[in-house]
Symmetry: C2
Subunit: 351 residues, 2 copies
């Protein structure tokens, strides 16, 4: 039996609702397996700007540093999106947190659930059995490069840089994951045009001999964006830089039939954060229609990270049970209405 | 009756085969409507590297400058792709040509053909009726920015810059296109993170009042990559920067069911180039299985550019006729084998 401190960052929009359900499930796991989970709630995102004027308050960052893991709901508010002149943005909180905690590897499993094949915009026979693990570099590249304007503000720039070491550490993680899976790793880049992509390609190539059981191949990002839809089963582990990963992994989410099902883990050497891949979905806030499963499955990844695989599987089985029984939010089953809380309670009860 | 000079750049892989068929169709149009089209063949891409050591020879560039339009097959050869140290690449020819001719707007129509709905990986009811026009900025951004390595070669950089004027000229084209269509323009960017995206957003916003009949909205690129698959019919005209456009437009091609159907036009103030969106597909070279329709439809866009809309429609009708009759290459109809040349001849005969 373990004792762990978990910082919870509910964030904005539907974030608090989905976090509540994941916490409910973690509490059920704690009860059943006699673990002690301490939950420490902190502000991050637009809610933090509103409360204290900054998207990532120092006290939040400090709490995250000391925690055994962080569970995040979602951040973002449309009032910042269409204002290109806003100085403070919720996203800065998330980007700052990733950078400060050194969360360099964002890991997203993409699974086609048999029960939900009909919900995907893709034909069932194309996606059935899809099981992809995407490794997205999360603290480098153009999202973190120098950016700014010329003096007359008529031109803007964003600089993309990568160092070999930033590539190596996530590439090793991706190769290791491929060793435990179907032994295939696909690097997504634009090496026919970008110098950073050529560095990615040569760096990943250089360590491939250390993983002789893994077949490495390469795809240009434009082609990858097609192949993921045309034939998703061809992929096992995918590895890519920050921005390509942002695009490709959100795109791949359509395979699952709902964004509301997809979890992620963001891993560093000393910290780990778990969050659904969906956003704050402000239109749904407070309506009880937000799907808590992505956050609950993120909590399962958190349990894996705590080295509690039995507990993690128990959560995943409970989610499967909810899908089997059709205890899901309206976007997946408009016929029988289950609220966010009902879905969370059902899953918590089933663990 | 008109007289026009067309430079043909067959390029690499299947490029020469598909170009032959487009030229065949243009000749048929010339005969039927009594126009004179002069075809001037030039080298570009890997074939130019092999022949004269450079992907874009001066004589090619000069011929393109003097021409009324350029028709391109495809460029690229895998022998350059996995060699991050290659100094000369086929892609430099294409990028150089776009830059030298000032082809700043790449225009790609994405249409779901009723006859081919079953070939799309997407469910028919999601895509039926899709009709999107994508405007991709083609001579700016990170593909053309400064790029290089640190002295020890352990870090690499690519700089993305945009000037307001580069955004304005393509934005006006996109707004004007929306005025003649369904009056909706969607700007795709990452304004919550990138400064260049914020410049795009504020620039496009600033001219929106000049087009009061057009509804402008915005999507983050990660969300756009999902929405294009989830609900493609929501889009009319899409506008985006170079790299996002590369990814999004290739992704959107899955809607049509085959890359082999999709044409593009690249427009500048003094020049225009027309090319299929597919690549050089070296595995298919010389087998007679390459689909010539994308290049033939690119030739139709070339006729539009020459202000010959009746002729252009005549080519499009002939293509429809080939689709109706199932006179298509094996990827679309494996049952009855039609070669590249048979499809081209059928369409040329039908104009
Ligand atoms: C909110 C935003 C900064 C973030 C990103 O682009 O990294 C989000 O889209 C994500 O993928 O986690
Ligand atoms: C070949 C390559 C440089 C090119 C690009 O990325 O622009 C191609 O992918 C395209 O989309 O026309």
């Amino acid at each position: 039996s373990v004792s762990k401190r978990i910082v919870v960052l509910p964030g904005d929009g539907i974030g608090p609702e989905v976090c509540s359900e994941a916490v409910r499930v973690l509490k059920a796991v704690g009860d059943r397996f006699s673990h002690e989970f301490h939950f420490d709630y902190q502000l991050m995102g637009a809610c933090a700007i509103d409360a204290v004027g900054t998207p990532l308050p120092d006290v939040t960052l400090e709490a995250c540093r000391r925690a055994d893991a962080v569970l995040l709901g979602a951040i973002g508010d449309p009032k910042y999106d269409n204002d290109p002149t806003a100085k403070v943005r919720p996203e800065q909180g998330l980007l700052g947190l990733r950078k400060s905690l050194g969360l360099y590897a964002n890991i997203r499993p993409i699974t086609a659930y048999d029960q939900l094949l009909e919900h995907s915009p893709l034909k069932a026979e194309r996606i059935q059995g899809t099981d992809i693990l995407i490794f997205r570099e999360l603290t480098g590249g153009i999202y973190f490069g120098e950016k700014g304007r010329s003096e007359d503000r008529a031109s803007a720039y964003d600089h993309c840089t990568y160092h070999r070491d930033e590539i190596l550490r996530i590439a090793h993680l991706a190769f290791k994951a491929a060793e435990t899976r179907r032994h295939k790793l696909t690097l997504v880049d634009k090496a026919n045009v970008l110098e950073t992509s050529r560095l990615w390609r040569e760096t990943v190539q250089s360590i491939a001999p250390e993983y002789p059981s893994v077949a490495l191949d390469y795809l240009f990002v434009d082609n990858a964006a097609m192949q993921i839809i045309l034939n998703p089963r061809q992929f096992d582990v995918m590895l890519t830089e920050n921005m390509f990963g942002d695009i490709i992994s959100d795109e791949a989410s359509v395979i699952a039939g709902s964004l509301g099902l997809l979890p992620s883990a963001s891993i560093g050497d000393d910290s780990a954060l778990f969050e659904p891949i969906h956003g704050s979905y402000p239109q749904a806030k407070g309506k009880g229609i937000a799907n808590p499963i992505a956050t609950i499955l993120s909590a399962a990844m958190l349990l894996d990270h705590f080295n509690l695989p039995e507990e993690a599987d128990c959560v995943r089985d409970a989610v499967q049970h909810a899908l089997d029984e059709g205890v899901v939010t309206p976007e997946l089953n408009p016929a029988v209405v289950h609220t966010t809380e009902q879905v969370g309670s059902f899953i918590a009860y089933a663990v």
